[in-house]
Each structure stands twice: as C-alpha cells, then as structure tokens.
C-alpha cells in the first residue's frame, strides 16, 4: 500500500504551549485514519501541519500527491446555493468547464444533495452542510483528504451517511484523515492516531488497542441503585474505570483482577470498546473529591421539579419547538437528546425563562420563570453550552462575582468558594484569567459557578462536549452526587454517551419529542433480529427514520 503522508518527529509550539509533541507516523492511501483525542489534544494543529498551513518547529512532513482539506468550519458561502458553491470551488480549482457537469452530477449523487441544488447553503441542516463541504473538497479528487471534526453538529443519521461516503472514497484509493473527539468513531477507522495533550498515545488499528482490555470489561445489571453501585465500584483499587450505562454499570478491571461480586446484581463479561482501552492509557488521577452534603431541597407536592406542557415556539413561520411535553421528577437526571438545531436548546431556554413561549406552559419548581419574581431563579443553577464566564476576570474573581450575585456574603461566601476551589482542583489557578484556563478547567469553573448557591434544580446545556473521558467521568460523579441529594437535573446533549448517564431521556427531532423513556426503554424500541443489542445510537437512528417516514 502506498504511503500518502509521512510525519517524522513533528513538533509545534505556540508560545509556551506545546501543541504537537514529536509525532512520527505514516498514513496510507486507501484507508481511513482517525485522529482521535479530546479538545486541545492537538488534532487541529496536526491537521494544519499536514495541510501545509503551518510549518513544523521540529521534524518534517513529506507528502505524496495532492491534499484536500476541509477545516472545522468549511468555507461554504451561505448566500450561494448548493450548486453555486460547487461551481465556485470547481472554478477555484480551475476545473475545465466541460468536465464540470459530470463531476457535479457524481458529487451530488454521492452526497445525497441532488434534490437540494437550488437551496441556499445557509439554509441547510448541519449534516447537509458537512456533506456539501465534503463534496466541495472533492471537486478535484485529492490523493489525501483531511477532514477536521466533520461530525460536529451532525445528527447520527447524517453522521452514518458521512462515514459511508468516506469509506467509499477510501475504496477508490483516497487516503482519508478524520479527526474527532468522539471515541466511538475511532472504531470505524482502519487506523487510529490517538492524541493526548499533543503526544501520540497509540498508532495502529483500533482493534489492536481494544484487544489490550479483552476480558477486563464487565457489566453489572439489575437493582435500582446503579448510582450507588457505580460510586462503590469506582472507589475499589482493582477497578480501573466504572461508568453508568443506562440501567447498568460498566466496569474495566485492572489487569488480572477478577470481576467484583455485587450483592443482588448480575455481573457479565462484555466485549471491550475503544473508550475502555483509552481510559487505561491515561494516567489515573487521584480520587475525585466529593461535594460537601447540602440541605435536601423541598420536594414539590406532586414530585415534579420541571414540567413542560405543550410547549410551542415559533420564529416567524418556522416552528422550532412543536407541542413538547415532559416532566422531570425531583432528584431525577433527565436528558434532552437531539442533533443541533432540533429544538432542544430552544426548549431549554423557554424552561429557564430566557425565551418567551409561543404557547404552552413552562414551569420550574411550580413557577413560570419568565414571569415569576426574581426569587424563583435563586433555586436554579444554569450552565450554558458556551463557556459563559468572564474571560478577563481571574478564577477567584469569577467565583466572587457569581457567589455575590446569588447573595452569598461574608463567611459563608468565603467557605463556599474555598470548597469549590478544593473540589474542582482550581486552587493552582486562583489568579489565572478564566479565559486562559485549559478547557477542562473552564468547564469545572463553570459548573462551580452554577452550583455555589446550592440550587434545587440544575440546567446543564451540553456540559461535557469536547472534554476528555476522565474529565467527563469527574463531571458526572458530581452530577450524580447532587442528584443523590435530591437535586433535579435537566441536561441537553447531542452526545449519545452522555445520554447513558441519564435516568430518563426525551429525544427531540425537528422540534418534536419523538421518544420518552429510560435509556434501556428507548434502546428496546429499536431491538430487532438484525440488531439484537442496539446501542443508543442505533435506537436514535431507527426512531428518527420512523419519525421521518410517518
């Protein structure tokens, strides 16, 4: 097999930060190579180095053939139609006009955009934009195609189509590099470069890495106290990793350790996943400090903390949210799952009073927050999708400010801040500007600011997108602990892994709630002879296809 690109000892620094550290690898033509790692691992820098947009500080890169590059935000012209965008890129690549119609027909067919030629690129969904971006990058077939996080903001259905497209390309002999923060995508690649903090942890087929934890993965089923089981098992020294998956708990044991026995539960071996292996490669950190106990929130008389009744939101003639109803019980973790643009953030914002409803009722703690007195908001904790802290203020100043506006003062304020600095390991960063923190710490600070005042209800908008698996586990440990104390949590996510942590899920697609239930109930809806043990993604795809046909 021919080599498309060779990296030897490549390094790149930005000021004191080492973005890419001594990476050597050879990528082959005709294969899909995954560039896998959390945000800030160095994926984009490595992509830009390979595309020749940056020069390496150390080492060298040799390219065999020409390169096509699709950056994270592909440069589509939103005010041009699909076919005008294609024509523009064809002309930029000086494609002969005679060749254009045949190539366009092939690309439109390939990307499934045939029926949308006259639609403005700006009016396409996230998934369709990525497909058009891919088509534009392919007008002149390159020998190596670099795709930087092509699946961000793409719904699972479109994501599968994108994967099918790149595998077709690989069969035609094109080398494809696909960068991603989603570990489940690694398993779809022929080869994986696993990055962590600029360093290369692993090169090779993903199965090679997964094989290392063969026989060490187990699932604990049965019983209603999965959170307790998760908490107990994660404290054991022989358990490397423990996380909630629907109603069960998934364990990765230390090398050679037998599976633990848990009273009243059934423990069974399961095939390993890429993430299980990844976790064992990362250095194990010290035990996660726990939040101090808090007063239990008063349980509402009907036991419902958040209620949406026939919520509708229209923007002009576009219906963003259409008759959505659900209820979050006190002490429950409820997830709103759906692709970007499906209407989950709109629902979320109506519930916390940031957006007026067109019709229907949004209640938190029995009150409509858009009209309730300010006091109603005192019981709410909110962490938005964007990192919404003051970047020019230090960590300590942000903590001072957010505790101050929730009315904390004097000794209580000082003690709470000290606890937060301790629990979220922010102490070394007290004087650092929030904007200069590493991503994981930004997220920690944002969570700390949202919970300092001890809210009864917590609203989290995409709380862990882009962070590495260890930080994600830490986050969920805190969220689970708060739920155990009776705090109700509403989470939005497009991240199917994250949805597994929720007690119940609502799936939103095109503004409608198309499914409601526990993760296992939702998975059961997709069970068939072809897929006896469906994942949440299988279920999601099946439900969306059903919703589209009806």
């Amino acid at each position: 097999m021919t080599t498309a690109i060779t990296l030897s000892g490549v390094g790149k620094r930005f000021g004191p930060t080492i973005a890419v550290d001594n990476i050597s690898a050879a990528l082959s033509a005709g294969r899909v190579t995954g560039l896998v790692g959390a945000d800030g691992a160095g994926k984009t820098t490595l992509m830009r180095l390979m595309a020749g947009l940056l020069n390496p500080d150390d080492g060298s890169i040799s390219v065999n053939g020409d390169i096509g590059y699709m950056p994270q935000r592909f440069g589509l012209y939103e005010d041009l139609t699909v076919s005008e965008n294609l024509r523009l890129y064809a002309e930029l690549r000086s494609l002969a006009p005679a060749e254009q119609p045949a190539i366009f027909a092939r690309l439109l067919d390939f990307s499934g955009l045939d029926g949308f030629q006259t639609r403005l690129a700006g009016k396409l969904s996230g998934g369709m934009k990525q497909k058009l971006g891919l088509a534009c990058a392919l007008v002149a077939t390159p020998s190596l195609l670099l795709l930087d996080e092509p699946s961000v903001g793409v719904d699972p259905v479109s994501r599968r189509q994108l994967w099918r497209m790149v595998h077709e390309l690989a069969e035609q002999g094109v080398g494809v590099v696909w960068s991603t923060a989603y570990l489940d995508e690694a398993e779809r690649c022929h080869e994986v470069l696993l990055l962590d903090q600029g360093r290369l942890l692993h090169v090779g087929p993903p199965a090679e890495l997964t094989k290392r934890v063969e026989g060490r993965c187990f699932v604990i089923k049965g019983g209603a106290d999965r959170r307790k089981v998760q908490l107990e098992t994660s404290a054991r020294p022989d358990v490397r990793d423990s996380l909630i998956q629907g109603a069960s708990v998934r364990l990765v044991m230390e090398e050679g350790a037998p599976p633990p026995k848990v009273e009243g539960h059934e423990v069974s071996a399961v095939p390993p996943r890429f993430e299980d292996a990844f976790i064992t490669l990362l250095e194990r950190k010290a035990a996660i400090p726990t939040l101090p106990p808090r007063h239990r929130p008063a349980v509402p008389t009907d036991g419902i903390a958040v209620r949406a009744t026939d919520l509708v939101r229209r923007f002009d003639d576009f219906v963003a949210v259409d008759q959505v109803s659900f209820a979050v019980k006190a002490g429950e973790i409820f997830g709103l799952l759906g692709p970007n643009g499906a209407g989950k953030s709109t629902t979320f914002r109506m519930l916390c009073g940031l957006l007026p409803v067109s019709s229907g009722i949004a209640e938190v703690g029995g009150r409509d927050l858009a009209h309730a007195a300010a006091q109603g908001r005192q019981n709410l904790g909110y962490m938005s999708q964007k990192f919404s802290l003051y970047p020019d203020l230090s960590v300590q100043q942000n903590l001072n400010f957010f505790s101050g506006i929730y009315g904390l003062a004097g000794k209580t304020q000082r003690q709470t801040i000290a606890t937060m600095r301790d629990v979220f390991a922010l102490d070394p960063y007290g004087g650092t500007n929030a904007g200069a923190l590493p991503l994981g710490f930004k997220q920690r600070l944002a969570l700390a600011c949202a919970i300092m005042h001890g809210p009864d209800t917590l609203f989290l908008d995409e709380p862990t997108s882009g962070v590495d698996p260890l930080v994600r586990r830490e986050f969920w440990t805190h969220i689970n602990a708060m739920a155990a104390e009776g705090v109700s949590v509403l989470v939005t996510t497009h991240f199917l892994d994250e949805a597994e942590y929720c007690d119940r899920l609502g799936i939103i697609f095109a503004g409608k709630l198309i499914a409601l239930g526990t993760p296992d109930e939702i998975k059961a809806q997709a069970r068939s002879d072809a897929i006896p043990d469906p994942t949440l993604e299988d279920a999601f795809v099946a439900l969306v296809e059903k919703a589209q046909t009806s």
């Binding site: 300010a374 909110y382 938005s384």
Partner: protein, 365 residues
C-alpha cells in the same frame, strides 16, 4: 440586594480594568484627542498671508502697506506686479487675501478726497477670510485715524465679556469636556451589554435572581465612575494646561457632569441592549454620536440652525451640557441658571435608562 449590586459593580470595573486594550482606550485616546482638538479647533487666524498689488507707488500707499505689515497677523506679505499674478496667488492658495491699491490712491489721499482700496478674499475659506477682513478693516480704520484725526466721528470701542481677548481655546476646551466625556461614556456602556451577549454571560445574568433594574444600576454606576474620572482629567487639564478659567463651584460642575453622564449612559445602554454583537453596538454608538456633536453648538452655533432643527437639539444632551459648560467655565453661572440646562438632561436620562431596563429582557434570541 445591595450585595448583589455591589458584586456587579466590582465585576464591571474589573472587566474594564483587567483588559489591557480597554484600559488603553479609556486613557490614551481621550488625552490625545484633547491635545489635538484643542490646538486644531481654533478660530483665531494667527498667520495670514497677504498679496499686495501696489499700482500706485506713492508715499501714502507705502505707509498703508507698512501699517499692515506691522500687524502680528500678517507676517507673510507677497508683492505682486499684475492682476494676473494676484489672481494666481489666490487661486493657488498662496495667499488668503489680496490688497489692490489703485494708481490714484496717493494723489487722492494728498487731496483729502476719499481714496479707496480693494480687498479680494478667498471665499473658499469663508470663515477665516471674514476674520482676516475684520483685521484689515481695523488696521485701515486706525490708519485713517492717524491720517486725519477727527473728533466728529463716533468711534466704536469693543469689549468682549467673559472672554476679553476672544480666545477660541476658551470656547473649544469647555466644549471638549462634553464631547470627549460623551465618547468615553458611550463607548464603555455600548460595549458592556453587547460584549456580555457575545460571551453568553448576559444570559447567565438573566437566570440569576438579579432584576432588570439591579442590572441597570450595576451597569450604570461603573460607567458613571469612569465618566466622572475622565471628565475630571479634562477639566483639570483645561485649567492647568490650557489656562481656561473656571468660574463656577466644583459642586455645580459635578452636578452638571453627573446629569450629563446619566443621559449619555442611558443612550449607550439602550444601544447596547438592542445590539447582539459588539460591532453593532459600536456602529450604533457612532451613528448616534456624530449628529449629536453637529447639533450641539460645538462647531456651529445652534442659533444659526433652522427653527425646527433648533427644537430637535433640545433632545440632545450634548447641547444642554455645552450651554452649561461655557456658563460654568466662563460666566460664573448661578445654580438656578444651571438648573435650566440640568433638568432636560435628567429627563433624557430617565427616559433612556428606563428604556434600557426594558430592553434588557427583550431581544433574547
């Protein structure tokens, strides 16, 4: 409640101060502008150039030219020999004014029969030309007086109150107190909400127990503090550096500054609350700022404008403040007279501040 507002104010001041760029914007450009505008916006014509076409050549004409050349304003005198040369000198902006002394000038003076001379002004520079023409007339009048002392003709004796030497710095610098303070206060407030919208922190504020009026106070107070500090710097510079007298009490000056700042901050916050990006906010601020300065009387007197436009200027806080500023600096205005200009600014402030508190909860999507 007090604790919440205090947290907001501290945060707001820190946000401005810790960002090196916004710190720079608050300090350096206003001082530079003060220096530049003070020296640039002068109505005094200090060095005028004059062409002389002396077709006469007699004694009387030489005496007249010597009298003009002796005046400090005319340091540059160009002798030309023909009408064509004279026209060319004005055309090329070599001179602003030309003096033509006709052939029979000396003879007529000699005979005591009224002689005449011609002044040609460059109308493209109407303002300066008028001033220069005034200078020339003064010189010629006094020259006439020397030639033929007479007591029968009444003589005009000018006295300018409040600004005896008609120093234009004394007019421009108090005006700049208003203009520059407005720039700073408007930019600081226009950016404040829009910046938080861009960062997403404004939504974060709206889900806290803060009420819109608490956010309003939390946003107004820091801008007021910054604006007062800024205007203090300019007022001190006006007295120490530019030697403009200050005739009113400090108390009255600050009452005027605070009323003015409140009205400007109200406008700034309103623009900011309606903008979703900082770029929109800055464009909005400048779109508002330019007409308010033109309609303030800073460059051209409000009295020269058409009646309907004069009515329009009543809604312009800068116009009220400039009336006040000139009164405070030069005239020793009484508190009762000052109140006449202060209350309209307070009315504007009340309207715009209420409007922004209302707008905070609008435009959330």
């Amino acid at each position: 409640m007090f604790g919440r507002i205090r947290a907001l104010i501290i945060k707001e001041l820190l946000a401005v101060w810790r960002d090196g760029k916004s710190r720079f914007v608050l300090i350096v450009p206003p001082l530079l502008q003060l220096a530049i505008f003070s020296y640039a916006c002068t109505y005094d014509v200090k060095i005028a150039s004059l062409a002389v076409l002396n077709q006469d050549g007699g004694l009387a004409s030489h005496e007249l030219v010597a009298a003009i050349a002796g005046a400090p304003a005319f340091s540059d005198i160009v002798a030309v020999n023909s009408e064509n040369d004279m026209a060319a000198a004005i055309d090329s902006r070599r001179v602003m004014v030309a003096l033509r002394i006709p052939q029979d000038f000396s003879r007529r003076v000699e005979n005591g029969g009224g002689a005449s001379i011609q002044i040609i002004l460059d109308g493209r520079r109407s303002n300066s030309a008028q001033i220069v023409s005034g200078y020339l007339q003064n010189i010629i009048t006094s020259h006439n007086h020397d030639l033929a002392p007479t007591t029968q003709v009444p003589v005009l004796v000018e006295r300018s109150w409040f600004n005896p030497n008609l120093e234009s710095l004394w007019v421009v610098v108090p005006g700049l107190v208003g203009v520059l303070t407005q720039v700073v206060a408007l930019v600081v407030t226009a950016l404040s909400v829009a910046r938080e919208r861009e960062l997403g922190t404004f939504e974060q504020l709206l889900v806290t127990p803060l009420r819109p009026w608490e956010i309003l106070i939390g946003k107004t107070t820091p801008a007021l503090l910054i604006g007062v500090a800024e205007s203090t710097i300019i007022i001190v510079a006006a007295q120490v550096w530019f030697k403009v007298p200050m005739t009113a009490s400090a108390l009255l000056v600050y009452a005027a500054v605070v009323a003015f700042l409140l009205s400007v901050i109200g406008v700034g916050l309103f623009i900011s609350a309606l903008s979703s990006t900082q770029q929109q906010a800055i464009l909005g601020a400048f779109f508002y700022m330019v007409p308010t300065i033109i309609l303030s009387g800073f460059a051209t007197p409000v009295e020269n404008m058409p009646d309907w436009m004069q009515t329009l200027t009543l809604a312009n806080p800068v116009r009220h403040f400039l009336d006040l500023a000139w009164g405070l600096f030069l005239k020793g205005i009484s508190p009762a007279q000052a109140w006449d200009s202060i209350w309209p600014m307070l009315v504007i402030a009340a309207i715009t501040l209420t409007g922004s508190a209302w707008a905070f909860r609008r435009r959330l999507y």
